[in-house]
Symmetry: D2
Subunit: 446 residues, 4 copies
Amino acid sequence: MEEFNLHLTGDMHAVAAAHNLLAAFLDSSLHFGNPHGIDPLSVTWRRVVDTNDRALRQIVVGLGGKRNGIPRETGFDIVASSEVMAILALAGDIHDMRRRLGKVVVGYDSEGRPVTAEDFHVAGAMTVIMRKTIDPNLMQTLEGGPCLIHAGPFANIAHGNSSIIADRIALRLCDYVVTEAGFGADMGAEKFFDIKCRISGLVPDAVLLVVTVRSVKLHGGEYDVRVGRPLDPRIREIDLAAVQAGAANMERHIENLRRFGVPVVVALNRFPTDGEEEIALLRERALAAGAQRAVVSDVHRKGGAGGLAMAHAVVEATETPADFQFLYPLELSLAEKIERIAKVIYRAGEVVFEKKAKRKLEWFEDLGYGGLPICMAKTQRSFSHDPKIRGCPEGFSLPVRDMGISAGAGFVVPYCGDILTMPGLPSEPGGTRVDIDEHGHTVGLF
Amino acid sequence: MEEFNLHLTGDMHAVAAAHNLLAAFLDSSLHFGNPHGIDPLSVTWRRVVDTNDRALRQIVVGLGGKRNGIPRETGFDIVASSEVMAILALAGDIHDMRRRLGKVVVGYDSEGRPVTAEDFHVAGAMTVIMRKTIDPNLMQTLEGGPCLIHAGPFANIAHGNSSIIADRIALRLCDYVVTEAGFGADMGAEKFFDIKCRISGLVPDAVLLVVTVRSVKLHGGEYDVRVGRPLDPRIREIDLAAVQAGAANMERHIENLRRFGVPVVVALNRFPTDGEEEIALLRERALAAGAQRAVVSDVHRKGGAGGLAMAHAVVEATETPADFQFLYPLELSLAEKIERIAKVIYRAGEVVFEKKAKRKLEWFEDLGYGGLPICMAKTQRSFSHDPKIRGCPEGFSLPVRDMGISAGAGFVVPYCGDILTMPGLPSEPGGTRVDIDEHGHTVGLF
Amino acid sequence: MEEFNLHLTGDMHAVAAAHNLLAAFLDSSLHFGNPHGIDPLSVTWRRVVDTNDRALRQIVVGLGGKRNGIPRETGFDIVASSEVMAILALAGDIHDMRRRLGKVVVGYDSEGRPVTAEDFHVAGAMTVIMRKTIDPNLMQTLEGGPCLIHAGPFANIAHGNSSIIADRIALRLCDYVVTEAGFGADMGAEKFFDIKCRISGLVPDAVLLVVTVRSVKLHGGEYDVRVGRPLDPRIREIDLAAVQAGAANMERHIENLRRFGVPVVVALNRFPTDGEEEIALLRERALAAGAQRAVVSDVHRKGGAGGLAMAHAVVEATETPADFQFLYPLELSLAEKIERIAKVIYRAGEVVFEKKAKRKLEWFEDLGYGGLPICMAKTQRSFSHDPKIRGCPEGFSLPVRDMGISAGAGFVVPYCGDILTMPGLPSEPGGTRVDIDEHGHTVGLF
Amino acid sequence: MEEFNLHLTGDMHAVAAAHNLLAAFLDSSLHFGNPHGIDPLSVTWRRVVDTNDRALRQIVVGLGGKRNGIPRETGFDIVASSEVMAILALAGDIHDMRRRLGKVVVGYDSEGRPVTAEDFHVAGAMTVIMRKTIDPNLMQTLEGGPCLIHAGPFANIAHGNSSIIADRIALRLCDYVVTEAGFGADMGAEKFFDIKCRISGLVPDAVLLVVTVRSVKLHGGEYDVRVGRPLDPRIREIDLAAVQAGAANMERHIENLRRFGVPVVVALNRFPTDGEEEIALLRERALAAGAQRAVVSDVHRKGGAGGLAMAHAVVEATETPADFQFLYPLELSLAEKIERIAKVIYRAGEVVFEKKAKRKLEWFEDLGYGGLPICMAKTQRSFSHDPKIRGCPEGFSLPVRDMGISAGAGFVVPYCGDILTMPGLPSEPGGTRVDIDEHGHTVGLF
C-alpha cells in the first residue's frame, strides 16, 4: 500500500503547494502597496500543511520589518481542509478546475467586495501545480478488484466525498459504481446529495448505510469513547439493552436517507465479538425503520465472499424504482437552507445565528452567493454540534457561530460549534513507533 | 521536462514533510510539559515550505491559549535550505540517513545540552517519509544521455552539491562521471572538496570551471545586475576592457582550485553575442593563470557536438597525475578552519566573529562538534560577504555574525553577512504568466 | 476643579505604577528561570494604562530574543479596572492595604496553585508606591460644602464604590454622610451592600435612588442612545407613554433595594425640559412601588437650595427603623451566590456557566476562595448582560463566560457577556478639541 | 525627600500620559481608515512607562481582530527617554512647549513625508496634560539652600540637561546659578553647549568638572565594574598607578571643555577611602592639563562648608574673561556635524554610517531637518560607543547604526552602537527590599 500512500501524498502536496502559493501571492500583494486594496484584517485564506501541528493554528506572520511584509494574524490548517482539495473533488475537468480556482475568495477590500485568486493572476499557476492530480489513482483491492482513489476533502469542514471525475470514469468502466460519502450520513450523505449530485448531475440508484453493532452501542450505552484512548473492553460483551437504545440513531439515519427518495440497504458490518442476537435485533429494527434490506457484511474476515449477500441486496435495490430529490431548492435563502438541514436532518429545534454569522448571511446574499448550496461544518460524532450528545437528540438549539464562503468549490459553510481545522499531535504520537529495520524496511506503521 | 520537475518536487515534499514533522514534534513536546527541558528561546529548528513567502520569515506561533502550545518566535525557510536536504545529499545509504536524521539538533536544554531528533523518537518516522527519496532520478538529456538528478541543497546556506549516492551509482555505470558543485567555485567547489569528498572518500580527477564572457564582464565592468531586472543591454556589446578587468576574478578561481591539487580545465561557455576577441582574451588569461586547458563550449547552440572539445580536454586532464589535498585538516579549531577558508579562498584580511558567533565557537567545541568541517553561509555573488563587491576584493574584514550546527549533515555553519533563507516573491511573480491553454496544456513556464 | 483632577490623577498614576511593577516583576521572574514555576499561559495579571488605547487590548510581549524575556499573550486594561484600585477603595488602613496587595493572584503554577504578589516580595514596594493615596482628597462644592474624593474602581468590572476610609473619616466629621455607589443600582448598590458593607461593617440608614425622566424614557420608549452620538432630540419632548412604560425599570430598582431592608427615597433629578406631568407620573409610580418618599431634586439649576426637600426626605428616612440584611450569606457555594444575584436582582431565569467558568467555579472553591463575596462584571445598561435589552427583562438566560479571582480586593468576579476592560478612542476623540489659548488657559475641556 | 519624589513622579506621569495619548491617537487613526496615509511599518513613536520592564521592549499590538486596531510591531521605552521629556527641558514657556509638541514626528506616510502630532490635533491635549509640569519644583538642600528640580531627559538618548525654564528662574533669583549637564562631559556637556545654550541663548561663565579618584581608577586600572554587582574592594585601596593611568581620561575632558572657550574648574569629589597622594596627583594632572583651578570638594562629609573652596574657585573662574563658542555651526551637513563631534570630542578616527543611517541622513536633509543640532545617543561609560573601552581610546571607528528625528525637541539623534531605551529589572530587584514597617513607615529604600 506504500505506493498508494505516495500517490495520494502527491495529491496532498500539490494541493498544499497550490493553496500556499495563493497565500504567498496575497501577502506579497499586501507588501507591494496592496494594489487590490485588500483589508488585511478581512483575509480568510490561511495556509495549509500536511502535519498535525497545533502551534500553527494561530500565528502572527510578517514580523521583522518592511522587507518581511505586513504583520497579520493568521494560521495553518491541515491540507484536507483546503478548498483546493474540495475543488479537486468537485471539478468536472481541468478547465472547470481552472475556473473554480479563479473564483476562490481570499478576503475582502475596504468596501467589502471579495478579492479572488483570479485578481492575483495566480489561478493559472495553481492549476498547473494541480495538473497531475486531475487523474484518479487506479488501485486494486487484495483480491484484484479495481478501485479509484481520488481526492480527500474533510467531511466536517468540506463536503467529504470522493471525486466526481473518479465516479465518471468508473461509470464508463463498470456496471456498478460504489462511491464513498464520508463520516456520518447526516454529514457525508446529505452533502453527497445536495452538493455533489447537484454539481455532477449524477443520481444514485441506492444507498448503502454501513452500521456496526459497536457504533450503535456507543449511541445507546454508557461507554465513553475518546480519540487516542483504548476502547472500554465492556463494549465487546453482549449488551442487548445498549443495542436496543442505540438503534434509534440508526433508524433516524435510515429515515433521513429515505427522504432523498432512494432505496436504502443497511450493511451490518460484523466484528468477531458481535453477538448473533445483537445483529438480529439490529436487522429487525433496520427493516422496521424502512430499510429495503438489512444484510450482514463479513468482508473483513472473508474478503469478497463475505460481501456477496450485501452486493446482491444492493443490486436488487438499484432495480427498485427511485424518485431522487434534493433536500432543498437553491432558491431558498441561505438561512432557510441551513434551517432546512438543521431541522430535517439533525432535528434541531432552532438555529441560532451568532452576530458574526448573521452579518455574513446578509453579506453573502448581497455578494451574489445566496444561490449556492450549503456545506455544514459540524462534528460527525453527534446529530448535534456537541460531540458528547449521543443517540437521537431533538429540539436542541444549533449555534452557527460564523460563516465561510468557498466560492471556488461552490458552497457556503456555516460553522456549527467548535470545529478544529488543524489537529494537534497527541502526547505520544504514533510516529514515535515508526522506523526502518536493519533491512531498511518500514516498521511500526500498523 | 515536466516529469522531471515532478520527481524532484516529490523529493522536495518529502524533505519538507520530514522537516516539519520534527518541528511539530518539538512544539508538541513543549506543549506537553516539555519533558526534555528545552529552552524554548534556544530552538534553532524552523519550518520549511516550498513557496517563496516573505511573510513567513519571522512569525510568532502558538498563540491563542493553552491548547495551541507555547508562543514562540520562529519562521519558515525555503525547503532547499533544510538540513534534511543536505543529509539526503550526503547520506551513504538509508541507514546512514537514519543515523544522520537522529543527530539533527533542534535546540538546547536549560544547561546548554543539544536536544536532537533522536530524543523525540521521530528520526525513524522522518526516515520512512524520506525512504523513496534515497533513490536518484534517472533522466535523459535531449540527445539521450543519462543523467542522475538527486537532492538540491542550497549552496549559500548548505553545501550545494549533487548527492553522494548518485555519484556512486554513476561511477558503477560509466567511464566518466561529471558531478555538479553549485554556485561560485569559492562556495560549491570548496565545499565539494572539504565536505563531500571527505564524507564520500571519493577523489576527483579533474575540475571543469565554467566561465562566460558575460560573467567576467560583470566582475570587471560597470554593469549593474539585479535579480528580477532586465540585463543592461550594453553587456551584449564587445567590451574588451571589461573582460580584461574581470578576468582577474576567473584567475583567482583557477588559482584557488589548483590549491586542491587537481588539474583545472576552463570551459568557455559561449553566448551568441560573445566576441571572438573576448573569448580569445579570456582563454589566454586562463592558461596563463594555470588552467591545463581552456576550451570553448558550444553545447547550447550545437548540443553534444558543441561540447566535444571540452570533453576531450577533460578526459586528458583526468589522465594527468593529481595530488588531491583538503584545504584544512579537521584537527584545527573551528575558528582556525573558518579563517583558513576566509583567508586562502576568499582572501579576507581578517575574520571578525561577532559576540554571538564567538560564544558559539566555544560552545560547539565544548559540545564535541569541534572536529566537523565548515560549511560557509555566504553570498555567491562576491568573494566577500557583500554581493556588491565584484571582482577580486582582498584584505577585507569578513564578519561572522552567528554560527549554526548541522550535526546531522555533519558540518558547522558560520553565517557571513546577511543570508536570506527564505526568498520573497517579486512584485510581478513569474507565476502570473503561467496558465493552461484551451487544450489543457501548460503555457507561460518559459 | 483642575487641582482636583490632578489629585485623582495622582492616585490613578500610583495605582498604575503599583500594578505595572507587579507585572514587570512577574515577567522578570519568568525571564530569570521562573523560580515560582508559573505556567506562563495561566497568567491573569495584565498591565494598565490611563489612556483609552484599543491597540493594547491584545498584545504579545517578550519578543526579540532572550534578553527581552518570554513571549506571552497579554494586554493592557484601563487603570480604573485594576484590582489595586479596588483594594484602595476597600482597605481599612495602610496595613490592610499591604496585606491585600500581598494576596493578589497573578497566575498559577503548573499544579494550579495560585502565585501571589507576596511570592514575588513586591507587595511592600507596591504599598510604598500607594502610600500617599491612602489619604482621601478633601474638596469643596461650589457652595463650600466638604466632599471627600477617594478611589475610582469601575462598577462594571470591580465594585464601583467610593472608599471605606473616606466614609469612616466622614462619619467622624459630620452628622450625615452620603456616599456613592456607582452606575445602576443593580450593580453599584448590590455590591455596596454585599461587598463594601460586609468588609467595612458599616450599615446604611437609607438609600437615595436617583432617577431622571430622561433615563426612564430610555427604558420605555424607542429612543436609540449610543455612546458618542448626539441624543435623539425627541427625548426632550413630553412623552407620557414612554415614562409610563419605562417606570417599570425604576420600580424594579426600588423593589430590589427594599429587599436589603433599608428605606428608599427616590430623587427625581430634574432637567429643564422635563414636563410637570411626567415628573408627577414618576413620583406616583415610585411611591406605589414602595419608596418612602419621592421628591424633586433641582440642584443643577438652584444649587443647595434645590436639594433641600430631598435632604429632608433623606433625614426623615434615616429615622425610620431599618432591618438591613445581605442578599446572600457567604456560606453558599460560589454558583449559588451568583445565581442568587442573577435571579433575585437581575430576574434571570437561569445562569449558564460556560465551560471555562464551570471549571473555575470548582477550582476556586478548591483553592479556598469559595467563601468570598461575588462582584458581578456586567453591563450597567441593562438588568441583563445585553446592553440592548432595556426595561425589565425577565426569565432570560445569563451567560457566565469566565471567572476571575480578585483575592486581594476580596471577591470573585463572574464575567457576564462581553465586558471590555480597555475602552477605545472614538474616531473623533474629545481630545482633539482641547488646547491652550493665547493666555495659556485650557480650552475645549467642556 | 519623599515629597520631592512625588513631585518629580508627577512630572514623569504627565510626560507618560501625554506621550501615550499621542500613541493611542496614532493607532486609533490607523484603525479608523488611516486618513493620514501613514505607513504603519514606518512608525517611530513607541509608548513609555515608568517601570523597568524588559518584556515590553519588543511587542506586537493590535491583535485580536478588527475592533482592536492594526497589528504592528512596537514597544515601550522608559519615560525619561521620551521626546516629551526633552521638550519639557528645552521649552521656553507653555506656548513654546505647545509648538514643539505639535512638531513631534510619529512616522511617515507612504511617500516619506513626516506625520506629526499636529496632524492628529492632539498637541493641544498633550500640552494641557503637561501644563502643571512647566513650573519647576523648588526644593531645599539639607542646609536650606534653594534648589530647582525640573525635567529629567536621559543623557544617553536625549540631551540630559536640567530645564531652561528652571535656569531662567534661577538667574532672576540668585547671583550664581549652577545647572547640571548629566553623565560624562563628552555627552552632557557637549549637548549643554551645542543644544541647550543654542536654544536658550544663555552662555555659561565657567565649567565645573566633577572628578573622583575612584572613577579615574576605573579608567586606568583593571577593575571590573558592572551594574548590579558589588564594587571590587581593591578599588578602595591606594593605587597610584591606576590614578596615573586613568588621569588621561580626565585630561581629555578638560581639553574638550576648554575648546568651548570657557574656564574649567575641576572639583575633586572626595571619598573617605581616597589617599592624599592620589588626590594630589590628580590635582597636579588637572592643572597641567589646563584647568584653571583644581580643588577638593568634601560636601558629602562636611556639607556646605566642605564646598567652600570649590565655590570660591568657581566664582573666581566666572570672573575670568571667556570666549564661548559652539563646537559646530548649524550650517554644516548632518554628517559633518556628527563627524565633528565624533572626531573632536570622542577622538574617533572615522564615523561609519550603516545603511539605514546613511539613508536617513539624506532623507532628513530632504525633509528640512538638516539645520538641527545633533544629540548623540551613545554610552556614557566610554568616549567610544563600546562601554568596555575605558580610558582614552583614539582613532576608533564609530558606528552609527540608525538615525532618529526629535523634531519637537529640535535635534537629530544618531544611534551609536547598542543603546537600550528600556532597562530590565535585575534578578533581585531593589524593590524586593522595600516595605512598610509596623508604623506604616517606608523601609528598605536606602
